[in-house]
Amino acid sequence: MNASQSVYAGIDVGASRTKAIIIDADRQIIGRAVIKSGTDFEEASCRCLDQALDMAGLTVAYITNAMSTGYGRNNVAIARDSKTEISCHARGCFHYFSHAISIIDIGGQDNKIIKLDASGKRLSFKMNRKCAAGTGAFLEEMSLRLDIPLEKLDGLARQSQSMVELGSFCTVFSATEVLEKIRQGKNVSDIVKGLFHSVIKRVMEMDSLTEQVVMTGGVVAHNDYLVQMTSEMIERPVLVPEYPQLTGALGAALFAMEYSDK
């Protein structure tokens, strides 16, 4: 790539993970990265962007425009503009699926249901309230309680023969409920499937799903079985974009391209 070619960066600083994407003028992804956000969002955004640029074989000097999004969107030094993660997830998803869609995004600390019409305009959105139920934080807490690495949950849930249902809204109460199930001798894989089921139920309580469903977010990216379970629960196929954890960053990069002349 030579310096005269335009590239655009999108940086999504989430509460749990920071994501960066570099796209070229043809909207092709040429670099991407995901790192832990930690406590210094500005440092995390710089480091994540550097990793994405490394993958693209570029330096920051090549970036024509950058847009930030996510919880730490105002802590991104290179970004001239920012947009909320709702707009960026919507834009990123519509890039892959250009028709009316209902997006379920399950992130580290919040969930969203975003509805787009056939032209990509947002019709509505809902975020979870202050509660962590149904988010990645819920699964993280449960993996700690069960002493099972987070990355093993998906495989365990797939092995379940008889799901254990959990009733509580509350993460803390759910943890107590899980301990009670263990005490009762329930199978761990059945409990983990119950946790996945609980996540999906909490999300689906937020809004109706009116169009073709797309799932995104870090929790979706690392737990394929969650998508399969959702599809079974809603009795229709669920679409997943190429990099489900990076759709916010991709949307931000696409906005950066659109805004570069403004």
Binding site: S68, Y71, R73, N74, N75, V76, A77, I78, A79, R80, D81, S82, K83, T84, E85, I86, S87, D110, K121, R122, S124, F125, M127, R129, K130
Partner: protein, 414 residues
């Protein structure tokens, strides 16, 4: 870096005068409390204040005090005190903040008005359940504490159309207050005094409506956040010449703004309607959150609650009964929907913000599908934000900010 710019809403000059009037009001109450020179009644904010004033009482409004606790961000430290004495964190946080503050011997009046060290002690407490049942329990706590009489009006709830039966019931309850109030005040009830007070209340109410209606101008000279501050005299001084004088002054200033096309929020890119309680401890933050995006939240159900169009000095009891029952909060959902639909049209708004206040179900109109029904009917989008009037433990600022900014981005896409 994407920086947040600060844009303050334009300052209203009349505020100086309002602060003077409010100061006089609180010091007069304080003086009466200390000297016991006048009888003091505590009254709910949309209660039968006119009757009390006509009978010579000075009036303290606990809801006003509750809002002050919220606005000064003192409430969140007071609420747990009431919680620990058996008043749930799920109930009205005006009640819990106010009772908690009393138990701790603290009042925001001391901060604002040097020399005032407590709320004025009541000789009688008079409530009206037209807003909620919590006021009854709230006032009952103080009646037991001060060992003074507790009187009440029990209003019908969920009223679709206010009929003659409703009016007759409330009017008779109001009349029943007179004998005990005569005994407590030592004053004989005088219908001419009531008519005079009611005439002043009607004038105040009419002027307050005109003030709020100025927000229908484009650009609006007023914001909802201004309204929450300037409603003070309509709450605590209605029925006095002072309130009438104040709203004449405020109205003149706002009409001049309209004439000169002065916007309260510049530029006014979008116009929003607020339904539900303010988050008192976040008034400034919310005002800045919207104004820096060029959005004016310019009208509300809440501020409109002190408009009493039905007042008629020729027929005081029936007209007060009607006015205090026609309030939005008393009504059935279909009447409320019709009201908000008319407000959307009148104020020419682009969207609605519903505040789902955790401890105030009666002022949270988004819990039974109303936003969805109204959006289907009008095409006007809405956003629900979760929070509370006083309890900041129930407020997530980052969630609110992201939701509001995302909603504004949605409006930009339309």
């Amino acid at each position: 870096m994407a920086e947040e710019k600060k844009v303050a809403r334009k300052k209203i000059e009349a505020t100086v005068q309002m602060n003077r009037y409010m100061s006089d009001y609180f010091y007069e109450l304080n003086e009466a409390d200390k000297s016991r020179s006048r009888k003091i009644a505590w009254c709910t904010s949309v209660g039968p204040a006119e009757i009390l004033r006509a009978m010579g009482f000075l009036i303290h409004f606990p809801e006003n005090h509750g809002a002050m606790l919220g606005a000064t961000r003192m409430a969140t430290d007071m609420i747990p005190v009431a919680n620990a004495s058996g008043y749930s964190p799920e109930i009205c946080s005006y009640l819990t903040a106010d009772v908690g503050a009393y138990m701790k011997g603290i009042t925001p009046l001391s901060r604002a008005y040097p020399g005032i060290d407590r709320v004025p002690r009541p000789d009688v407490l008079v409530y009206n359940t037209n807003q909620c049942r919590d006021v009854q329990d709230w006032f009952a706590w103080y009646a037991a504490e001060f060992k003074v009489p507790l009187l009440g009006i029990h209003t019908h709830r969920g009223v679709k159309d206010v009929g003659d039966d409703h009016v007759a019931s409330i009017a008779s309850q109001m009349k029943a207050l007179i004998p005990p109030l005569e005994a407590i005040s030592g004053n004989k009830f005088d219908i001419d005094k009531l008519n005079h007070v009611l005439a002043l209340s009607k004038e105040c109410s009419g002027l307050w409506k005109k003030v709020l209606d100025t927000a229908s101008a484009k650009p609006s000279p007023l914001t909802f956040f201004d309204g929450t501050i300037h409603m003070g005299p309509a709450v605590v001084l209605r029925g006095t010449q002072t309130a009438v004088d104040y709203y004449k002054q405020l109205l003149a200033e706002l009409e001049t703004r309209i004439h000169d096309r002065v916007a309260a929020v510049e530029p006014e890119r979008f116009r929003l309607y607020w339904d539900g309680m303010p988050m008192w401890g976040r008034l400034r933050d919310h005002s800045e959150l919207f104004s820096r995006a060029g959005v004016n939240v310019l009208a509300s159900t809440y501020c409109n609650s002190w408009i009493f169009s039905a007042f008629d000095p020729e027929d005081p009891f029936n007209s007060m009964a009607r006015a205090y029952t026609e309030l939005f909060i008393v009504r059935a959902d279909d009447a409320k929907e019709d009201y908000i639909r008319r407000m959307i049209e009148f104020f020419k708004v682009d969207g609605i913000i519903y505040h789902d206040a955790k401890t105030c179900p009666n002022n949270s109109n988004c819990r039974y599908g109303m936003p969805q029904r109204l959006e289907a009917l009008t095409g006007i989008p809405s956003l629900t934000i979760n929070g509370d009037l006083n309890d900041l433990r129930l407020v997530s600022d980052e969630q609110t900010k992201t939701n509001v900014e995302a909603f504004i981005e949605q409006l930009e896409e339309r």
